[in-house]
Subunit: 342 residues, 2 copies
């Protein structure tokens, strides 16, 4: 009954558009594609005068088209998810150069008159990833077969998707049958299917999470990309609906060293890790009384290797749980993966 949209029809490879964002933390889509689908990324481009880069070849749309690019992907997500007027010239340049446009923003490409006109004029496609499937049912709370892991966070944009992708890779290395279940636009671009959970009507969020990870074989793992945080003043409702509908057997808490405050909301502190684990488990028990926390995925990208190792060890001792940086291989990651599968 439910047909997730798939990557099959998406025109690849991509030229990644970085807008004019200076804060690289908002270029999640571009970074995610670079790291997890590098074969699909021809290069990057930005608004005139913007110095932002994620380390791909900087190409104007015409050059990218000449090298084989088929679509420009909007690789940044500003607060509120609206298309910026200042992006328009760049997007029109891409369409004129022969590229389709793919967006994961809340605002629909098709509703932007100049883009719709250009699509008509140049015969290009406008592809909105953030359109949830129609007819999502209300969640039933019915227990599903198979096993589930959900990455949860102390904040947005600190590694929930990367952690989930890493865990799937590690599960598969160990011969475990596992699928990555995408809940955001970047994850959907990488995985080829999924549901943009934060674009779902509020009453149906838990129902969407139930759809996303259906009944499966008893030893199959769905590793579900978390969204937001129970402690985020803007998005906590999305996180709770996803937590309830996912019915996780295992949660992994994601955090970034030094992230003391909610990104973009300086007045709000991130929670202590032990509190965050406790709150997530307490609420998750409502739909899966057996839920447990396997450990913490700590983003230590701002630290050097030695300092990172020390931080992971300290944090692990403090919590009495495995703590690993999914972006750094090693014994810590092995321990976290083993704890997930235990």
């Amino acid at each position: 009954m439910y047909q997730p949209f798939t990557l099959v029809e998406l025109p690849r490879p991509f030229l990644l558009f970085l807008g004019e964002e200076c804060d690289v933390a908002f270029a999640k889509t571009a970074q995610g594609l670079r790291d997890w689908a590098p074969e699909a990324c021809i290069g990057e481009f930005a608004c005139a005068g913007s110095g932002v880069s994620i380390g791909l070849p900087a190409l104007r749309p015409r050059e990218a088209k000449a090298r084989g690019a088929r679509a420009a992907v909007i690789g940044v997500a500003n607060i509120g998810g609206a298309l910026r007027a200042s992006w328009l010239a760049s997007l029109l340049e891409a369409m004129e150069a022969g590229l389709d446009i793919i967006s994961g923003m809340h605002g629909r490409l098709r509703n932007v008159t100049p883009l719709a006109a250009a699509a008509e004029k140049f015969g290009r496609r406008l592809i909105d990833l953030r359109v949830p499937p129609a007819d999502i049912p209300v969640a039933t709370g019915r227990k599903r077969s198979g096993r589930r892991l959900l990455t949860v966070g102390t904040d947005c944009a600190l590694g929930k998707k990367y952690s989930a992708l890493t865990l799937v890779r590690e599960f598969r290395k160990r011969g475990v049958d596992a699928d990555f279940r995408a809940t955001g636009q970047t994850g959907i671009l990488i995985a080829g299917s999924g549901i943009p959970i934060d674009a779902v009507i509020a009453d149906f969020v838990a129902g969407a999470a139930e759809l996303l990870s259906p009944d499966a074989a008893p030893d199959h793992w769905d590793v579900i990309e978390g969204q937001g945080s129970l402690f985020h003043p803007s998005y906590a409702g999305v996180s709770l609906g996803l937590l309830h509908g996912s019915q996780p057997d295992v949660i992994v808490l994601c955090h970034e060293t030094g992230r003391d405050h909610i990104l973009g909301l300086e007045g709000f502190k991130t929670p202590a890790l032990a509190n965050a684990i406790q709150m997530n488990l307490s609420l998750a028990r409502q739909t899966n009384p057996q839920v447990r926390c396997a450990g913490v995925a700590l983003n230590t990208s701002r630290l050097g290797p030695e300092q990172a190792r020390q931080t992971l060890a300290d944090c692990s001792r403090e919590l009495g749980l495995p703590v690993a940086d999914p972006m750094r291989d090693g014994a810590e990651l092995d321990r976290l993966v083993n704890a997930c599968l235990a």
Copy 2:
């Protein structure tokens, strides 16, 4: 900037349509209008063969029209919020008799082809209340002036709206400047404005709650209608977004005696009252560290007067908080209201 829709344009009085529901708990809209806007209710009607009634005069649409009715209000909300095909004949009968149709369902009247055709043919209006305002912003968490009370619940459909309406009435009796802030279709019909919070895109629920109760005078109270429950496997995300965005100074927990399980989901127990209070306060502190619980609004409609009095007293002693049934006047209600305003 924000223009809530108002009752001014709604065609009154109403004929209340009860569908074919046998479970009176789902006739929330009809009951709410009967109790809180009786002057607007001419009568009730149902599908042929249905014995359901909420105690208003049973009138066919033609009779109701003759007595002055201007619109039929769909007074029941089935799970999922879709229009039932079996309602169609009754709604067409109402339109042919000269009535507009008002709906608070998720499914849009205008998308039901036979209704749209009949509206065209008979010159009737189809009014969908559950369409949130456009351009709701993401919540900022910014502290707003004025005071706020939110009714929260152990489950759906047990008295959060009635409790809020009663508290506003009692606040005003004491000379306190107070407004009822509606978050559901029935509340919106009664109040004349509001936001259908569960129809908002998930990312914007807390933002909608911020819009709903804007900055106000320091001694003004917004009494906000709660939705769902943090413990409801289907709707908890809506409840949490509303809790965060409302930034309540005071919460009142609503429960019904004997409601041991979540309505319609027998496998799920309702929480202990003390746990429900603790969980709501714990999450609410994220946007208002000063939040407190003033007491419990206990729906004792299934009990006789003496048994109700005893139950309220027992519950109050157990929790160490005022416990009152908002539908029963008396010392208990006074104590609860005083605790809210303390």
